[in-house]
C-alpha cells in the first residue's frame, strides 16, 4: 500500500511538477518583493523573455522530432546582423523578407543534412554553429552594425512598438506560440512530428515521410530564429556579431525544463512557454530581491536536474537508478 501511495505521489508530482515549481517560485518572489506581482513587472518579464521564448518554440519542434539544434544562437546573430545591414541598403520592407529567406535557407540546409542525409543532428548543428558564426563575421567584416537614421524608420515597431498598450514582442511571442501550439497538437503534421520522434523506424514503416518532417521542423526553427533576430534588431537598432552567442544552450535549457525529452516524442508548446517563463521569472525575481544575476545559473542548474529526475522517477517508479 505504501508503495502504491508513493507511486501516486510520484505520478502527480511528475506530471505537474513543473507547474508546482512555477507556483512555488511565484509565491516566494511575491512574498519577498511587493513589486514582483505588479502588472508592469509581469509585462516586463514576458517582454524580456520574448526573444528566448520565440527561439524555444522552434527548438521544441526539433527536439520533439528527436533531434537537437545547437545552431540557433549563431543563426540569430546572423539574422540580426543581416536585417540591420539590409535595412540601410534596401529599406525595411525589403530587408525583412530577404532576411527571412536567408535564415530559412540556413535552416533548410540543416534540415537537408539531418533529414535527408540522416547525419547526426548534434554534430551537424555544432558544425553549423561554427560555420554560421564565421559567415556572420565575414558578412559584417567583423564590425558592429548600426542603423543610420534611427528616428526616421518604422523598423523599431517590432521591438519597441505597442498595440493597444501591449508591447509588440509579447504579441509576436503569444501569436507564434498559439499558431505553433495548434500546429503541433491539432494537425496531421503535428502528429507526424511526434511519431517520427517517438519511433523513427515505426514511423517510416507506417508511411510517414521521416525526412520531410524533420526538414520542416528545422524550417520552423529557422523561421522562429529569424523572428527572434528581427525583435532583437528592432529593439536595439544596432548589434554586435555575437549577440546570440550561448543562447542555444539557454534555449535548450528552457525546452528541457518544459519537459520535452531529448530522446524525442514528448513535449508541448505550452510546457515550453512555461519553461521559458520560469527562467524569466527567476531572473527577474532574483534581481528584485537584490541578488546578483549569477545566482540564477545555480538555481537553473538545480531546477533542470530536479525536473528531469522527477520525470524519469515517475517512468521507472523509483527515485534512484539501479545500475
Amino acid at each position: 500500500m505504501a508503495n502504491l501511495a508513493r507511486k501516486r505521489i510520484l505520478t502527480v508530482m511528475g506530471n505537474q511538477g513543473i507547474l508546482i515549481a512555477f507556483v512555488v517560485f511565484m509565491v516566494i518572489f511575491a512574498l519577498a518583493s511587493p513589486k514582483f506581482l505588479s502588472l508592469d513587472n509581469l509585462q516586463s518579464v514576458v517582454r524580456s523573455s520574448a526573444i528566448l521564448g520565440v527561439m524555444a518554440l522552434g527548438v521544441t519542434f526539433v527536439v520533439i522530432s528527436g533531434n537537437l539544434d545547437l545552431s540557433v544562437g549563431s543563426m540569430m546573430s546572423f539574422s540580426t546582423i543581416v536585417v540591420l545591414d539590409l535595412h540601410d541598403k534596401l529599406g525595411p520592407s525589403l530587408a525583412i523578407p530577404t532576411m527571412y529567406l536567408m535564415t530559412l535557407g540556413l535552416g533548410g540546409t540543416i534540415g537537408f543534412l539531418v533529414g535527408y542525409l540522416r547525419l547526426n543532428s548534434l554534430i551537424v548543428t555544432l558544425g553549423m554553429l561554427s560555420a554560421i558564426h564565421g559567415l556572420t563575421l565575414t558578412y559584417s567584416g567583423g564590425k558592429n552594425m548600426d542603423i543610420d537614421d534611427k528616428a526616421g524608420t518604422w523598423f523599431s515597431f517590432f521591438g519597441q512598438g505597442e498595440i493597444l498598450g501591449l508591447p509588440v514582442p509579447i504579441i509576436l511571442f503569444v501569436a507564434l506560440a498559439a499558431f505553433l501550439g495548434v500546429l503541433l497538437a491539432k494537425t496531421p503534421f503535428g502528429r507526424k512530428v511526434y511519431a517520427v520522434g517517438g519511433n523513427s523506424t515505426a514511423a517510416s514503416f507506417s508511411g510517414i515521410p521521416r525526412a520531410r518532417t524533420v526538414f520542416t521542423c528545422y524550417l520552423i526553427s529557422a523561421f522562429c530564429v529569424a523572428t527572434a533576430g528581427l525583435i532583437q534588431a528592432s529593439r536595439s537598432m544596432g548589434s554586435q556579431n555575437t549577440v546570440g552567442q550561448g543562447l542555444e544552450l539557454e534555449v535548450l535549457a528552457a525546452v528541457i525544463l518544459g519537459g520535452a525529452s531529448l530522446l524525442g516524442g514528448s513535449g508541448t508548446v505550452l510546457k515550453t512557454v512555461i519553461g521559458v517563463l520560469i527562467l524569466g521569472f527567476i531572473q527577474n525575481g532574483l534581481l528584485l530581491i537584490g541578488w546578483p544575476f549569477y545566482i540564477q545559473y545555480v538555481i537553473t542548474w538545480i531546477i533542470i536536474i530536479l525536473a528531469v529526475w522527477l520525470d524519469i522517477s515517475v517512468k521507472r517508479g523509483k527515485f534512484w537508478a539501479t545500475i
Binding site: 545547437l70 543534412l113 542525409l117 540522416r118 547525419l119 547526426n120 548534434l122 554534430i123 551537424v124 555544432l126 558544425g127 553549423m128 554553429l129 561554427s130 560555420a131 554560421i132 558564426h133 564565421g134 559567415l135 556572420t136 563575421l137 565575414t138 567583423g142 517510416s204 552567442q245 550561448g246 544552450l249 535548450l252 535549457a253 528541457i256 531529448l262 546578483p292 549569477y294 545566482i295 540564477q296 545559473y297 545555480v298 537553473t300 542548474w301 538545480i302 533542470i304 536536474i305 528531469v308 529526475w309 524519469i312 521507472r316 534512484w320 537508478a321 545500475i323
Partner: protein, 333 residues
Amino acid sequence: MNSEFIKRNLSTSAIWLFIVVELIFFSVAGQYLSLTDVAFMDGGNMLLLLKQSAPIGIIAVGMTIVMVNGNIDLSVGAIFAMAGIILLDSLSWSIFSGIGDWVIVVSVLLALTTGVLLGALNGLIVWKTGVDAFIVTLGSMLGYRGLVFMFNGENPTSNLNWTLVDLAEARFLGVHTATWVFGLTVLIVWLITRYTVHGRNAYAIGDNRNAAVNAGIRVGPHMLINFALIGFLAALSAVVFYAGSGSVNPNDGMLYELWVITAVVLGGTKLAGGSGSIIGTLGGVIAIQLLRTGLGYIGADTSTVNLVLGLILIVVLFIDRQLNVKGAQELKV
C-alpha cells in the same frame, strides 16, 4: 586488396591523411601568400603549434573516454575556469604564506582536486538519478559557471607568480612544458583505455549498455570514474594555461566544450559510444590547431577559421556515414 580493408583503414587514418594534406597545402600556399619568410613547417612554428593545442587537447583526451563510455560533458569550460580561479587565488591565501614557493604545489593540487570533485559530482548525478549526461552537464555548465561568478563577481582573478610563470615557459629538450603535459596525458589515458579493465569496460558500456549490465559490469562506478577523470583533465588544462597567463576572467572557457567535442568527433569518436581512440583525438586536436595556425599564416582572418572548421566537421561526418557500412545501409531507408 579488398574494399573492406581499404574502408577500415581509410576511416581510422583519415584524420592523419587530412593533417598531411593541411601541411602540404599551407606550405605551398604559404610560398605565395604568407607575409613572413619563415617556412610553415619551421621547427619553432610546429613546437608553438603543439603548445597552443595543449589546453584544448588535454580536455579532449578526457572527452574521448567520456564519449566512448556513451556520455558527454558540456561543463568542462566552467570546470576549467573554476580550477583556474582556485589555482591563482590560493597562491595568495594567508595560511600558505609560510611555505614559500611550495605554495605552487599546494595550489596546483587544490585546483586539480576542484576539478575532480566537480567532475565526480556530474558523474554521481548521472549514476544515481539516471538522468541523461547531456542534460546533467548542460545544467552544471550553468551551475558551475554560477559558482565561478560567486567567487569574485564579475572581476577577473589575477595573481602573477613568477616562479610559476618560469615553470610554464620552461623547455625540456626544446619542448614546452604544456606540450610535455599534453603528451603525457595522451600516453597515460591511452594506456588506460588499452590495458586496464576500466578502459575495456568503458568501451563495453558505450557499445551496448544492456549487454554490459548482463555481463556483470557495474555501469555507474565506471561512469563516475570517467567524469572524475575529465574533471581532473579540465583542471590540469587550466593549470597549464593559467600558469603562464596569471589572470582568470569569469567568462573564460566558454564554448570550450564545443571546440573539444569538435576535435574529438574529427578524431573519429562516435557520439553513440563504444568506438573511438585517444590517438584519433590527438589527430583531431592537431588538425584543428593546424587549420587555425595555417589560415592565420596565409593571412585569412578568424571568421574563415570558423566557417572552414564547421564545414569540415559536416563533411567528415558525411564521409564517415558513407564509409561506415551500417550508416550506408541506413542512408537507403
